[in-house]
Amino acid sequence: MWLIRAFEESVSELVGTGEVVGLVHVSIGQEASAVGVCDVLEARDRVYSGHRAHGHVLARGADPTAVMAELMGKATGLCGGKGGSMHLVDVTHGVLGATGVVGGTIPLALGTALALRETAPGAVAVVFFGDGAVQTGYFHECLNMAALWKAPVLLVCENNGYAEFTPRSAHTPVERVTRHAETYGIDARTVDGNDVVAVREAAAALVAPLRGGGGPALLECLTYRMRGHYEGDPARYREASELAEWKAKDPVRRCASAAVERGELSADDAAACEAAARRAVAAAVAAARSAPFPPPSALTEDVGG
């Protein structure tokens, strides 16, 4: 988790300096859902994300240097610099797509789940999306088909209470995303999304039946983004008190201090973890920074059609 936190903080700074380009959504405050879910996944599983994708890709094991280089548009980026922040793909680590169109990877994940069932039985497809995506037709159409076809797909909603600048209450009268799963008899849980252990446990419980041929599952992680919607968003639409409240529930610090409390980790080790993550990110930034941009020929390569 420290890796993601350090990475995202660094991204945020580099947006400021103009080295990281584009429309960038960081996941500071939401690291636990990425880590908790990906921790129960296997190499054969396939993952999709949304516009807030950095954490998911890193949690799957992507090389931070390649991710950082991608955000800078470098040739050594995960996608050769062509995809960018909202379109991270890392086939080696089983990440088949992220999307700038809210909800757009839900059907992709369902299709991939159907394929996996036949080509790699026991493997699952996972898709991360936000609470805003729950109001798209995609979510509902796919919930129905996933249930109808008992597809091995885990739908992970990172419910951070906002879609852009608008709170949940202005988007839907339905408070819990799991409510929609109930309609279809889909196995679903709501967890404290800032508690990585709780996320991990719930994910493990939901994924196991999928590997055995069971139908879809839905995991709702209640969380909060500690920064604005995108880098540059002053987030005037929310109260300082709300942010402060959630800062107290910071998933990364909370995980570290819990481990220390439980005696699993010494305070020094915990600090060393953070320091190592920061060093790794600094090295990734340095490497990405010195990497070349793609050659002009890349513009029209890999188009297809």
Binding site: G77, P107, L108, G111, G304
Partner: protein
Amino acid sequence: MADTTYIGAINDALASAMRRDPAVRIVGEDVAEGGPFGATKGLAAEFGERVRDTPISESSIMGIGAGMALAGLRPVVEIMFIDFITLALDQLANQAAKARYMSGGQLRCPLVVRTSVGAGTRSGAQHSQSLEAWLLHVPGLSVVMPATAADAGGLLLSALRADDPVVVVENKELYFRKEPRVDLAPVPIGAAAVRRPGRDVTCVATSRTVHEALAAADELARDGTEVEVIDPRTLHPLDLDTIVGSVRRTHRCVVAHEAVRQGGFGAEVAALVQEHAFDALDAPVARLGAPYAPVPVSPPLEDAYLVRAPAIAAAVRSLVA
């Protein structure tokens, strides 16, 4: 040999591809029952769950196909009428078409989309459109548009061997047109067919209008005007050499299609021909297409809406006049 039909050739091609390649899947509404035109008739009986009926959820169905393709299958997604592709363009244009590029070449998306265009069935403005021009404008999509049974089967076979998305644009009025049976064989994507050679005027026509152009050419030949009829078969990637080569010989060009003229494929062809054969042209490239109007149901209006042989003949005559 017995006759075949366009829809029969599609059915044969699907069956043969499914026998040959275990990765092929069919996904769409009522496909298990054969679909409204019978394109998938008998396939569910032979291939079981590889033929998947879906609810009425076009937006997601396209994405499900793309997600299958990204995971290594070769799905054929059926969008019954191209009018409904309006519901599915996000997944087609934003996800499937761009997956390879955005991933820096990590992904391939061998998705085949079958859909139908065309008026003449009195089915009204939401079941009769020809929207193929939209697809040309989306980098990453191949677009094929068969005019004959042999091409309907053969282009579909090639689409099912391609590694990037291909949209197969069929025509409802051609579905039950009889044709002498030929052996099912892949027709290469990107190769035009010269349907009739001629020295006086080049007529580039697509899909149903190929047959109208041939009928016009027959009639004009009686007056001594020889029309060369070129069927591009693939709209992207376009076989421009065949078209430009012809115009350089004939010095005149007509483009005909069923779609609305404004913003249609004919505009692209006219623009390319005047660019690549400017010095050879004796007259402006003429374009025929539907008027700027939705498709009406009323028989005389719909009949007037469609580009038929007499209109093509008239356009040719005014070019050689």
